[in-house]
């Protein structure tokens, strides 16, 4: 099922920009990921209980994900993580870095 994602041990620290290139791969945060694009989780910022919970629910590095849609008022967004669906506010989606996989 989950195969190992791209190994990204380091990436520029500090503010995560919405989109940047590193070692030939495109990184975006989940809130700016185009709808329908298949991505893999790279990392989650933060050490609060939500980060822990997201990871416990499978948002671990390498996990496949896809943004399905945003709610009628633009927020929250629906994400397909592995093979189940999750609703997440853009604020929290911003802390999740993903890489666009093909």
């Amino acid at each position: 099922m989950f195969t190992r994602g791209p190994v990204v041990a380091e990436y520029p620290s500090g503010d995560i920009e919405s989109r940047f290139h590193f070692r030939g791969e495109i990184f975006v945060t989940l809130d700016t990921t185009p709808i329908g694009t298949a991505v893999r989780i790279v990392s989650i910022e933060g050490s609060d209980s939500l980060t822990l919970r997201l990871m416990e629910m499978g948002m671990v590095p390498g996990a496949p994900a896809r943004v399905i849609k945003s709610a009628p008022l633009g927020d929250p967004i629906q994400i397909c993580l592995g093979n189940y669906h999750l609703a997440l506010r853009r604020n929290e989606a911003r802390t999740i870095t993903v890489t666009i996989s093909d």
Binding site: M1, F2, S47, D48, S49, L50, L52, R53, L54, M55, E56, M57, G58, V60, P61, A63, I68, K69, A71, P72, L73, G74, D75, P76, Q78, C80, G82, N83, Y84, H85, L86, A87, L88, R89, N91, E92
Partner: protein, 670 residues
């Protein structure tokens, strides 16, 4: 179908003897939310179950009995759903405490059945592996096994079981498939007792750990967590084969409509409209039937018993009081039916998804939508459902406004007022004015709730908006047995309420209305004089100056006083005050007619449409429910919040009712 059928019909697990087992065994069913835990619980226990509260807290736990073998009766506990042992909400905390034996009042279960959704193995196995690591006796029940097979996912149960180190039993709860195997597995697990820790342990060795995050550095827990996922991925990859990569296609296709930018909100409004219209029209037939039965019962009693105080008590007190409330059972059933269907089908989560942005504007959380929607049935389960909201301030704000959602107990009051003063009028030719007014009352409650929550979140409960994250479970056809179980439990609660609280209040009100007896010189048979001189009449007189500005006379005052115990008693009290339940003919015996005919001292009619409207507004906003107050007391663990709730809601109700009545009088004659 290969591995599955073998195990389902299986005779591979030897039947153990359970002579030496501690009796009765206690088995807990735990697992992620939406994994068929309750279905499994229902097929294990059938009808031998009851809803109880965990000691000390108001979390509803379902207890049942499972006759595992002819001479082995097992106690089964259905735990709240949890994603991990690192609990983030009250619900999860309670489930975890029971599972780890930390609940001081409840012994650690002898065996834990972990439900694992076969269509979502990886995430479900996270909790399962955490539990397996504790070493306590455990069986994995692979639920949704039929769905997995249908989506061409083949699971090698033997391999999975070998990797996990516990027995894995596929079950199809609906058809009771695999239940016997599960029974055998539970018995052998109980017999084997504590297991050795597996060699793939990923948890912190210390049993007393409170939270992973606080105990470990971020790097350490992330490493452990990721390692666990890697291991699970490997196990799943080795024990499954799939022909298709994506399975949740159907749900996504439904979502294309249900959470569509434009269609989604339209569907949401239509669903709510359908619910209200149904409750108001379909429920009429059975309601009339119940009404007739009770009228006939009262008339029959009066005909066959000697006239006297005991007969009066039975007919005017008990039958008029309890019957007046039981009439509304069909409406309450329908409301709970809809709420249960929406919840079980997966639509509720979508509604929360649609509403989150809007709710946030009012300082609420998307997850508050489900408790608030349940509060339309009854604030008590609604307030209990706030336990899924992690942030305490958000939870408190939701609890504070939940009673504004027009609950099923208000419905009788609205229904009565509309039947008496607004019936048979149509708007635009086809929409009944009554249905529209009911909708208006619901909207009034919602509107006030929004304002109050906004104010609360900017004053007392000021806090940054917390994160919103929730699973959108796949759509599933509601399991009819589960729906029936839920409804049965609700009917039970309602009947118990009608049989105890409402009966007691009915009798009390009858006594207060009947005593002191008018003296013989006064017209003893003149009901009006009797009521006026009674204790209740005196109390009504005392508060009359207060409620005259709202358009209410002292008789309505009596009903108001009694309604603070429970709203629906207003009807039984009015029945008693107006002495309905009499045998003087079907037409005049109805409460509606009595209300229409009621006169003030000066000969003017007591009830005008405006008075009815004013009373409805009062009932929308006032917190007249002892059960709600009690539940808020328990959920917030203090008297401060419930007292605050009663007082501010009463003030709001009074002001709104005052504006309605006085404003209406200014605008035109009553």
């Amino acid at each position: 179908m290969s591995a599955a059928t073998e195990t389902l019909s299986g005779s591979k697990i030897p039947p153990p003897s359970f002579r030496d087992l501690r009796q009765p065994l206690t088995v807990a069913v735990a697992g992620n939310p939406n994994t068929g835990k309750t279905s499994l619980f229902n097929s294990l226990t059938g009808l031998r179950q009851k809803v109880a509260n965990y000691p000390g807290v108001t979390v509803e736990s379902k207890l049942g009995q499972w006759s595992l073998a002819p001479d082995c009766l097992v106690r089964v506990i259905d735990l709240p759903g949890l994603y991990s042992l690192e609990a983030t909400s009250l619900d999860e905390q309670i489930a975890r405490d029971v599972l780890l034996g930390r609940n001081s009042k409840l012994a650690q279960p002898d065996v834990v059945i972990v439900t694992v959704d076969a269509t979502n193995l990886i995430r479900n196995l996270y909790l399962a592996t955490q539990l397996i690591e504790t070493g306590s006796p455990m069986v994995v029940a692979l639920t949704m096994f039929d769905l997995a097979e249908r989506s061409k996912l083949r699971i090698d149960v033997q391999k999975l079981s070998a990797a996990l180190g516990v027995q894995v039993v596929p079950v199809v709860a609906k058809r009771r498939g695999g239940i016997d195997d599960l029974g055998r597995a539970v018995l052998s697990a109980a017999k084997a007792g504590l297991r050795q820790k597996p060699d793939w342990c990923f948890s912190v060795p210390d049993q007393n750990r409170s939270r992973l995050v606080s105990d470990l550095s971020r790097e350490s827990w992330q490493k452990l967590l990721t390692a666990r996922y890697r291991w699970i991925e490997k196990v799943v990859a080795e024990s499954t084969a799939s022909d298709e990569t994506r399975q949740s296609n159907i749900s996504e296709r439904i979502d294309a409509f249900v959470t569509h930018k434009f269609l989604g909100p339209v569907i949401l409004v239509l669903v709510m409209l359908l619910i209200f219209q149904t409750i108001f029209s379909w429920a009429n037939l059975p309601m009339n039937l119940i009404d007739h039965v009770f009228s006939a019962l009262g008339a029959g009693l009066r005909a066959n018993f000697p006239p006297g105080i005991l007969t009066d008590l039975l007919v005017d007190g008990v039958i008029a009081g309890v019957g007046g409330v039981l009439v509304f059972l069909p409406q309450i059933l329908l409301l709970f039916l809809f709420i249960t269907l929406l919840e079980d089908s997966g639509y509720m989560a979508r509604a929360a998804f649609l509403m989150d942005r809007l709710m946030r504007a009012f300082g609420l959380h998307g997850k508050a939508f489900v408790p608030l929607l349940s509060s339309f049935a009854c604030a008590v389960p609604g307030i209990m459902a706030t336990r899924t909201i992690e942030n305490p301030k958000d939870r408190l704000a939701t609890i504070m406004i939940a009673p504004f959602m027009s609950c099923s107990a208000r419905l009788p009051v609205y229904t009565l007022m509309i039947a008496a003063f607004f019936s048979r009028q149509k708007v635009l030719g086809f929409i009944s004015l009554g249905a529209l007014m009911i909708l208006g009352m619901y909207l009034l409650g919602i509107g006030v709730a929004i304002i109050v929550s906004w104010i609360l979140k900017h004053t007392l409960l000021n806090a940054p908006s917390p994160p919103f994250m929730m699973e959108l479970p796949p759509y599933r056809l509601p399991n009819l047995a589960n729906v029936a179980h839920t409804l049965l439990a609700r009917v039970g609660v309602f009947l118990k309420q009608a049989g105890t609280v409402i009966m007691a209040i009915s009798i009390l009100m009858w006594v207060l209305v009947t005593f002191p007896r008018a003296s013989a010189t006064e017209a003893r048979n003149d009901h009006a004089t009797q009521v006026e001189n009674s204790y209740a009449g005196q109390a009504g007189r005392i508060i009359e100056p207060l409620i005259t500005p709202l358009g209410f006379d002292w008789k309505i005052g009596i009903a108001l006083i009694s309604s603070f115990a429970a709203r629906e008693t207003v009807i039984s009290t009015l029945s008693i005050v107006y002495k309905v339940g009499d045998d003087s003919g079907a037409e005049s015996s109805s409460l509606v007619a009595a209300m229409r005919n009621a006169k003030r001292a000066d000969g003017s009619t007591v009830w005008t449409p405006l008075v009815a409207l004013s009373l409805m507004v009062f009932f929308v906003l006032a917190c007249q429910c002892m059960s709600t107050v009690a539940i808020v007391r328990r959920e917030t663990n203090s008297w401060r919040w419930p007292l605050f709730m009663i007082s501010y809601m009463l003030v709001l109700a009074y002001v709104a009712s005052f504006i309605t009545y006085q404003g209406g009088r200014l605008l035109g004659p009553g």
